[in-house]
Amino acid sequence: DSLRVQNPGAGPLELKEVFTLFQIQYNRSYSNPAEYAHRLDIFARNLAHAQRLQEEDLGTAEFGVTAFSDLTEEEFDQLYGNQRAAGRAPNVDREVGSDEWQES
């Protein structure tokens, strides 16, 4: 049901066809039926997310199936993120003109 809700108009069969095409195109295979079902669910969520991105984007970008469509955002982050990303500067703000400031 969740799959059907997430892909209004695209019945589970269509989704599975798209997923099969994805597996062929990106040479994906899964070790057991449970893993397959898990990846299909992630794939469906990512497709729905891509549709939302497409609607939200203010430019001409197109979003959809990519080599990363069977990864959760966390797995994608883990695999392709620059773990050591530069930190944020501490937000140091100080009342201008306060005594303490003048002393320092």
Partner: protein, 243 residues
Amino acid sequence: VPSTCDWRKAPGVMSPVKDQKTCSCCWAMAAAGNIEAQWGIKTRQSVEVSVQELLDCGRCGDGCSGGFVWDAFITVLNNSGLASEKDYPFQGAVRAKCQAKKHKKVAWIQDFIMLSDNEQRIAWYLATEGPITVTINKKLLQQYQNGVIKATQTTCDPQNVDHVVLLVGFGKTKSVEGRQAKGVPGHSRRRSTPYWILKNSWGANWGEKGYFRLHRGSNACGITKYPITARVDKPAKKVSCPP
């Protein structure tokens, strides 16, 4: 600043798109691409430099767990240059021992600089000196297929930058390319969209043959936060980007 610039059209400047696979070394691949482009533009010699040397010889020693472009340039300065990709090929994992001393250097740098967080100045430098590494929030790239990403601060936080790529050009879409303007009945034409052209390190099958485009002029995904480039000796002749 010219209206368009695309260093992919200049011979001997851009090496093929690389694929970092499961090694988080976007920082090293972007730095290598920057040095290759600067070297190609300034010396007119095409080189492909070793990413593996940046991983094995970096001071942090765990280059596949992420890193910083400035660390890559420091490694190049410490080793007085970089070996070729051919001599010291990418392995997709960090190896214990630095092999820099075994190989001839094919390129070197004078120093490296960070540009101001101003897209006009970044465009000017890009067009007159060559490609620049930039660090962006990669959130929208997982599902990206093609076109110009025009994000908002909500959809792509410019403060949360976590992926290094190479800025190689800029341009504007033709007004017809824009999709049906939302919420404006009947109005199907859109103003043209200014964009940056960026080289990614996820293989040539991703995005637009390994490249992607971001909206130019709105600090899309934090692109102006860390614009950093190596500097190679001044050229004898004036440099200009192909239109």
